[in-house]
Every structure is written in C-alpha cells, then in structure tokens.
C-alpha cells in the first residue's frame, strides 16, 4: 500500500484536506497496548491488521485520527488502535461521529460497525449520516449474525436461518447493505472482503480519498456462529462468482474473464458471454455517475448463493459534505456581519431604560 503513497506524491487525500499532515508513522504506531480479544480465526483480526497497516499511509498524526464504534464484536476495534477512540452505544456511532466530524474538520473520523449495529438498532443513523454526507468513513463488518450476544440471526442473515432465536428458521427478508446505502443517497459505496488484504486496503484508500460520507461493507467471517458464510466468494478465484469492479475498466468475470454485463430491458444488469455480445453493449465500470441507478443495478446482482457478487467501489461522486456546508454558513455569516457581539445580542429587539 505504500506504493500507492508514492504514486500520489504530494496529493492530499480528499477527506483530509483540513487535517494536519505527519509522515514517518508505521503500522506499529497504530497498535494499542490492549490485548485483542476476538475469537481465534475471527475475520475481525484481518480487518484490524489491514486497517492498522493502512493508517500510516494517510500521513495523518495519530492524534488526529478518531475511531468511533457502536456495540458488537466489531465495535471492540477502537480499543486496539492507538488513536483517539470511542466505543459508544449500540447503533449510535454514526450520530456521535457526526457531531465530532461536524465540529472538528481537522480530524479523520472512522466509524466501525456491524450488521446488527448499523442495520438493525442503528439503521436510522446510518441512512441519515449517508444522505447528509458527513465526512466520516463507515466500515460495516458484515458477518450476517449477532456474535456478541451469541448467535441470533441479523438483518443480513439469509431467510430461513436457523439460530437460537429462530429454531424454525428466520422469517425476515434480509437487507443488501450496498443497495441500502445507495438508496440512502450515499456518495461513496464500496464492498470488500476480510481475507483480501490488498483489495480491502485499496478500498479503504479510495474511501479516504472521498470528501464526505463513505460506506464500506466488508464481508467478515464469524467462525463461531456463522462459519464460512462467505466461502463461495472466498473460494471464487476460479469459480467466477466474484465481480471485481474497477473504475474505467470493462466489467469482466467468470472463468477466463469471459463474461461481461449489459442492461436488460427493465434496467437490470444481466451477464452475457463477451463473445456473444453486440459491440458497445457491454458495461465499462464508472463510479462517477451522478445517477445511482447503475450502481444499484450492480448491487442487485448479488444473491443469497453469491452467484455473482461485485466487490470494489460501486459509487464515488462529488457532493459537498455536510460539515463543510455548515462551516461555510458560519464563515459566510461572519464575513457579512462580523463575529457575534454578545452585548449587542442581549440588547437586541425593543429595549427601554429605567433610571
């Protein structure tokens, strides 16, 4: 990932425009002295390692990084990262991070959440943080299960899931987190996999280079309560189930990359052998489209059996962030009327003298 930095050569990542710069930090600087306490084999370890290794490349002083989480297995992560951090309340991390990022543009603010935390109890905060486009980066560790409470189905569990709370199978239809984020007007939406360090790092970097809210779903394995939930994707090197999205590149997948995508009659994307496609009908990936319809169609390729699962950046469009708009309103008011005068404020309106 340090190669990426060299390429950038002086370019400041978009979300860090107002954050101080510091070079020379290493992965070890971002490791706290706390013993990591996830279950052996938990996907959270890999994500934590990727995150800690990625942070030095931001060139942000440790003290200007804040990691905010909710409640759940993944939400323990801030304790293991030697920056400022808050392990808050179930579901509320996006709200807390909103207040912090809105009042402190000099910070790089990361939210760590899970499928229960972000999509069940905290669903409201997630969608509103995304639509407002607050300058926070949200990592949703999706293991499709409640881990910390020992194995109940979650809002991303497949229908019919047998768990302690659903001995006859769950009845709920699951959320597709990427579709949800796109529907919530997110300006940056991506997906990655815990076991693919390189891909995860590139997606984290793209998120940091986005001014505004960034949403990243990370498929995360919970070996204890939902082992191998993402096995089809992980074993997919040759099976062709994974669709790796790259901005500006033709979408190709399947054995030998022989399959592409084209739009069907009602706007859905459909796979088609490249050899059989009419020239010009095949999709070239574009993250910058203002209209989210294409990104949404991509997200709908996903299904319970992972027959076709896109990973990478679905959408990345420029939209002024909430915090910068708020700061601009304040600057503007001060430019026009000067800094507030307390005595004048208190004496505003109709006054009278008593002598």
């Amino acid at each position: 990932m340090h190669d990426g930095i060299k390429e950038q050569n002086g370019h400041r990542l978009a979300s860090l425009a107002l954050v101080p710069r510091a070079a020379g930090l290493a992965t070890k600087d971002f490791k706290s002295d706390q013993e990591v306490r996830w279950c052996p084999g938990c996907g959270d370890y890999a994500i934590l390692a990727a995150f800690q290794a990625f942070l030095p490349g931001l060139e942000v002083p440790r003290e200007n990084v804040v990691v905010v989480s909710g409640i759940g297995c993944s939400s323990r992560l801030p304790y293991y990262v030697n920056t400022y951090g808050m392990h808050s309340i179930h579901g509320r991390a996006p709200a807390i991070a909103t207040g912090l990022a809105t009042s402190r543009p000099d910070l790089s603010v990361w939210v760590i959440t899970g499928d229960g935390d972000a999509l069940s109890i905290g669903g409201n905060h997630l969608i509103h943080a995304l639509r407002r486009n607050v300058n926070i980066k949200i990592l949703l560790f999706n293991n499709r299960i409640y881990g910390l409470t020992k194995g109940q189905y979650s809002p991303t569990s497949e229908q019919g899931k047998v768990t302690k709370s659903t001995p006859f199978g769950s009845l709920d239809h699951p959320f597709n987190p990427v579709s949800l984020a796109l529907g919530a007007e997110a300006s940056f939406v991506a997906r990655s996999v815990d076991s693919d360090r390189k891909h995860l790092t590139s997606v984290l970097r793209a998120a940091a280079d986005h001014q505004g809210a960034a949403f990243i779903e990370v498929f995360q394995n919970c070996p204890i309560f939902n082992d191998d939930a993402f096995a089809p994707v992980k074993d997919s090197a040759g099976s062709g189930q994974l669709i790796r999205l790259e901005h500006g590149a033709p979408v190709r997948f399947g054995p030998g990359g022989e399959t592409g995508l084209r739009f069907g009659p009602f706007g859905a994307l459909e796979p088609v052998p490249v050899a059989e496609a009419t020239p010009g009908s095949l999709i070239t990936h574009d993250t910058s489209l203002a209209d989210p319809s294409y990104a949404f169609a991509l997200s709908r390729l996903d299904s319970a059996d992972f027959a076709r699962t896109p990973i990478g950046v679905f959408r990345s469009v420029d939209r002024p962030s909430y915090d910068s708009l708020m700061a601009a309103q304040i600057d503007d008011a001060r430019a026009r009327g000067g800094d507030g005068d307390l005595a004048a404020l208190l004496a505003g309106g109709d006054t009278w003298e008593v002598s």
Binding site: S32, Q34, P61, R62, E63, N64, V66, V68, I71, P78, Y79, N82, T83, Y84, G85, M86, H87, S88, I89, R92, P94, A95, I96, A97, T98, G99, L100, A101, T102, S103, R104, D106, L107, N124, H125, I127, H128, M326, Q329, I330, D332, A333, R334, G337, G338, D339, G340, L342, A343, L345, L346, A347, G348, G349, D350, T351, W352, E353, V354, S355
Partner: protein
C-alpha cells in the same frame, strides 16, 4: 369626546380567539407596548397542540394572558380583569375564569347561528342575559375592520384577518399603550407586502379610534410605569433567554457551541433561536431523532465543544442511554428538558414539573447527574450559564429543567452587564499534551502513559483530553473503566470504586454552590414554603398575599436539585412545617423525605397550568393555621 380616566395598579387581560385569529400575535404586541411603557409584566400564552384545529371549535381556542402593573409582579395573574373573546368558542372556553364585574369585549360578528351551534349554544349568550354580570362591550370587530379597509386593494379574507390588529388598537387605546413599537413591527413584518402592511396599520388605527370615539367604552384606564431597578430592559421569553444563556456560556468559556436537537414542543424555539446565530460560531444540528441529537452533541463534546441538546419529556426518555454514556465517559454535556404535561405525548403545549425524578434517576445503573432548574423566563439565561459551569468544571452531563410555562411566558429582563457574568474559561482547561506541561505529567503514570481517568483531587473531574492533542490518544466507552488508566476493567473492587467515585464527584458539586437562602422577613416564621423551578412566581405571589394578611411565612426556592445545597437539611429542620407545592404528584417531596427524613407537606396540581396565587395563599394560610 373626553373620557374619564381611571387609575389602576394592575390589570390582567386575556385575548382569546380561534387559533387562526392571531391572538398570540396581538398578545405579543400588547406585551411589547406594555414593556416599552415601563410596567412590570408577566405573560401566559395558552394554545392548542393542533396547528389548526377546526375553526370555531373549543379545541381550536388559543389565548394569551398578560398581567401588568405599576409595581413588580411575579405571575401572569389568576383571573382576568378583561377578556377579549373573538368568537363563541373563545367565550365559552374562558368565561368560567372571568370574575363578576370584569370587562368582557366580544366580537359580535362571529356570534352567528352556525358558530353558536358549534359550541352548543342554543341561544346566543349575548341575548339571553347570561352576560349581565359582566361589563359587556359588544363590538362588531370583523365588520368594522372590513369597513375600515374597504379602500385597500386586498381580498376580503386579508381584510378579515386584520381584525386582531383592530382589537389590539382598541385595547392599546383603552390602556394608553404607546403605539409606536407596533407600528414599527408591522412595517418590518410586512415590508414585502406594502398593501397588507398599510391595511394592518389602518386596522390598528381604526381600533384605536373606535375606542376613543364610540360609546362602547366610557372609561379609559391608566397603569403607571413600575419603579424597577435602573438599567436597560427588554422583554424576554424563557426559550429565548435559554438560547442567549447558551451563547453567553460559549463565549464565557471560550468554547464553540454545538446544539444537537430534534423538533419537539415546547423546546423547538431554542433550536430556532440558536440556528440564527451563526456569527457566534454556533453549530446547530437538526438530527434524525432525539437519540442522534444527543449522540452528536456528545461527539462534539469529545471534540471540545460546549455541547447541548434540547428536548421535552418524550425526548428525554429517548436520550437516556446516551446521557448514561456521558456519565460513564465523563464528558461535559448540557441536556435541556423543557417539561410538558405527560405521561407519553400528554399535553404538549401545557406545562408540568413531572420530569424531576426522570432527570435524576431515569437511566440504568448508578448514573448520577446534576440537575438544575430555572425559576422564571429570564432566569433561563442564568440557569444555562450555571449548567455550563457545572458541565465543564466537573466533565459531566447536566440536566437543566425548564417547562412550557417558562419557555413561552415572558417578563421584562434587566439586561446584564457582560462583565458581571461568571468567567467560565477558568473553570476548565483541556489536558495539555504529554510532556508539554507539568499538568500533563501529572496526568501520566510512571511509564509516562496518559491516564485519562486520573482525577483532579479538588473536583474529581477527569482530564478533558480532546483529539488533536499529541500523546493523549486514548479510548473511552461505556464499558467500566479501570480507575486512572481508563482501560476496560471487570474487576469487582474497581467497579465498586468507580461507582462511588462518580457519585462523589456529583455530590462534590454542592461545595461550589452557595447555601440555600431563605426569605423570612419577620424572622419568626414557623412554616417554610419550598419550591423549585417555574413555581417561583406563583409561590412568591402567594407568600406576599399571606404576609399582607398579617402572617409570617418563610420562602425558599431550589435552583440545584442534584446535588442539593449543603444547608438544605438544616433549613428544613428549622421549621415546624414545610410546604412543598409542585406541578406534579410530589416528586421533590419524595426526595426530601428520603434524604432528610422530614415529613414535608406536599401540595400538588397537574392541570397543565401554573398555580393560581390566590389558591396557593389559601393553602399556605391553612398550613400556618395548623402549625
């Protein structure tokens, strides 16, 4: 025509009409004229929760009561001396409060068969003699307004709408109010609609002239200005005073102000007011819900803002978990609860004091929170500054209790000199980066590691270490923390110690607040009346009546509900009887009995309205009689 002028020392006027009749505006303007004239005053707006209940019905009645006097007064008054009823519904809803002989001004145009039927009048009360006990002034206000405006290029509807200005003009003449401020107000309000502006000015003038020239009013009244302490005055509502107090606190502390809020009656006006003041660097965040609003405030507090959330009872219930987190992570946070009648949705536009126990105890675990209450509309300003002082000094959430009566009621306020306000910047400092200052070293352990939960020995406050400070990187959260280091701890003894430390920190706040002052001018009172919050005015007025009747009675009022002033127990034990009037079923009384083993006498009403001073005076005299 010269009219007789009668001198009065005080008057209580109630404007009542349909919620679409503009009675709140007429009341507001009359208040402003009265304030500028120099009377002391107190107001009580009373409006339906519905934005536009069906026209002409009882639920749609909106009223505004104003008490003004040539001396200092404490309440908006019990019973009106004058009722302005703009329709049959307004008459029916308010007549029971009107004493015999009071002036009753009725808009006869609205007493149509249909409007009478809507509120169950078979015969018009104007015709059946039932209003004979009042001094009735029957005025066709609507048609007189329309007639006065017939030369204007406006719709009939717009002309009718100006009838509140006609009524205001009439009342302004009747009480010799200065008209200038209302003229200025109308010119500013309708600056972009010149024809409407001229029409409203004309309606106001027509009402004034009507009073002067017709037989309807034979007497004009005079209420001389009150002799108030010298200074510059303005009229202010509780919600505006609260917003100003928060801005002042931000300036006094040198911290940026962050408000997270979600619209809720009767607290929304604080959000509205603060949203105007961007020049003070105020950040207002209208969140997706109550939980997010307090969450964002807590996030901003972590970042070093003076953070506030404003709400009413139902919102308090939703914020409880985050307030508990603020207790656990020990960050400053001001939680303003503008109480309203509950439970549940209750009566959103009516006042109550029934959130006291929720403020103190409405969280899981041992979760102590300082609680303070404002006593009058203008006192909300000082209460906000005190809440901020406690929050930043002790790094704790603070609940500030106001209520619907204070929020919307108004009174003249002597504008304070900025220099007289407390300096909050000396109450706290952000923790310095490690090694940068001696204080930084003090916050580190032997290995030079930052100790986010090492406490100041005097206040027991932990360091406020804001992100961006090198060397103080630390993680906080709702899980129990080890004393000092702040790392996660499930150690039984540590938990016991931390629970007690958090409690001791809040209890220690009492050392920084003055003793409870007791007003006992005769010095021989055997009965103490103890109140808190918005009952200050009614209790004060009642105590005055009792003293004027020749009895001795002591009065004290609590600003701090948690912790209590340290001399409270001693004060309670000094009197034979302690009467505690509250607009709830005895919440302070419960605390006093529990803490001090004093069998206080609890007097309670929960009618959605402030106490009436006369009733309260009877209760006090009754207690004195049995003392």
């Amino acid at each position: 025509m010269t009219k007789q002028v009668q001198k009065l020392d005080h008057v209580i006027i109630r404007f009542a009409g349909d919620s679409g009749d503009g009675m709140q505006l007429a009341g507001d303007r009359f208040t402003q004229e009265t304030a500028v004239f120099g009377n002391d005053l107190s107001t009580l707006p009373n409006f339906p929760a519905e934005i536009r209940a069906p026209a002409g019905t009882l639920p749609g009645v909106s009223s505004f009561q104003l008490h003004f006097a040539d001396h200092d007064i404490l309440t908006p008054g019990d019973a009106p001396d004058v009722l302005v009823a703009m329709n049959p519904a307004a008459l029916k809803a308010n007549l029971k409060d009107l004493p015999r002989g009071a002036d009753l001004i009725v808009n006869t145009d609205e007493f149509t068969k249909r409007n009478l039927a809507k509120v169950g009048y078979d015969i018009s009360p104007l015709e059946d003699g039932s209003l004979e006990r009042y001094n009735l002034h029957a005025v066709p206000i609507t048609s007189l307004t329309v007639k006065a405006l017939e030369d204007f290029d406006i719709t009939r509807k717009d002309a009718e709408r100006a009838k509140n200005m006609f009524a205001l003009g009439m009342l302004s003449w009747l009480y010799g109010r200065p008209a200038e401020s209302t003229r200025n107000f109308l010119q500013a309000k309708f600056a972009r609609k010149p024809e409407i502006m001229k029409a409203n000015l004309a309606a106001f003038g027509a009402g004034w002239n009507f009073g002067e020239t017709t037989e309807a009013f034979s007497v004009r009244y005079e209420v001389r200005p009150a002799s108030l302490a010298p200074g510059t005055y303005r009229n202010i509502t509780g919600n505006t005073a609260l917003a100003y107090g928060l801005i002042a606190a931000s300036r006094l502390a040198g911290l940026p102000l962050f408000l997270g809020s979600y619209p809720i009656t009767p607290a929304s006006d604080v959000l509205h007011e603060l949203a105007k003041h961007k020049r003070f660097g105020v950040r207002t965040f209208q969140a997706e819900d109550e939980i997010a609003s307090v969450g964002a405030a807590l996030g901003a507090a972590f970042g070093g803002s003076l953070s506030v959330t404003t709400t009413s009872g139902p919102g308090m219930a939703l914020k409880a978990e985050t307030v508990g987190l603020a207790v656990s992570v020990e960050l400053p946070l001001i939680v303003c609860d503008i109480q309203r009648a509950g439970p549940s949705t209750g009566m959103p536009t009516k006042t109550e004091q029934a959130d006291l126990l929720m403020a103190l105890f409405g969280r899981n675990g041992e979760s102590p929170v300082p609680v303070i209450a404002a006593a009058s509309p203008s006192d909300c300003f000082h209460a906000a500054i005190e809440a901020a002082r406690i929050a930043v000094t002790y790094r704790t959430p603070v609940v500030l209790l106001s209520d619907g009566y204070l929020a919307n009621g108004s009174e003249p306020w002597r504008i304070p000199d900025i220099a007289s306000l407390p300096d909050l910047s000396s109450a706290f400092s952000f923790a310095p980066s490690l090694g940068e200052a001696a204080g930084g070293e003090a916050a580190a352990n032997g290995d030079g590691e930052f100790q986010p939960f090492r406490r100041d020995p005097a206040t027991l406050a932990r360091p406020w270490a804001v992100p961006g400070t090198p060397g103080l990187e630390h993680r906080i959260g709702g899980i129990e923390k080890a004393d000092g280091s702040g790392t996660i701890s499930y150690d039984p003894d540590n938990h016991d110690r931390m629970v007690r430390l958090r409690q001791a920190k809040i209890d220690g706040i009492a050392a920084g607040i003055g003793p409870l002052e007791v007003d006992d001018p005769d010095g021989d009172a055997r009965v103490l009346v103890l109140g808190w919050g918005s009952t200050f005015g009614s209790i004060g007025a009642a105590v005055r009546r009792v003293r004027n009747a020749g009895h001795s009675v002591a009065q004290a009022h609590l600003r701090h509900l948690n912790p209590f002033p340290s001399n409270l127990g001693e004060v309670l034990h000094r009197y034979d009887k302690v009467l505690v009037p509250e607009i709830n079923l005895g919440q302070l009384a419960l605390l006093l009995r529990g803490r001090f083993l004093v069998d206080v006498i609890s007097y309670n009403q929960v009618r959605g309205l402030p106490f009436r001073a006369a009733e309260l005076a009877e209760v006090i005299e009754d207690v004195i009689g049995h003392a």
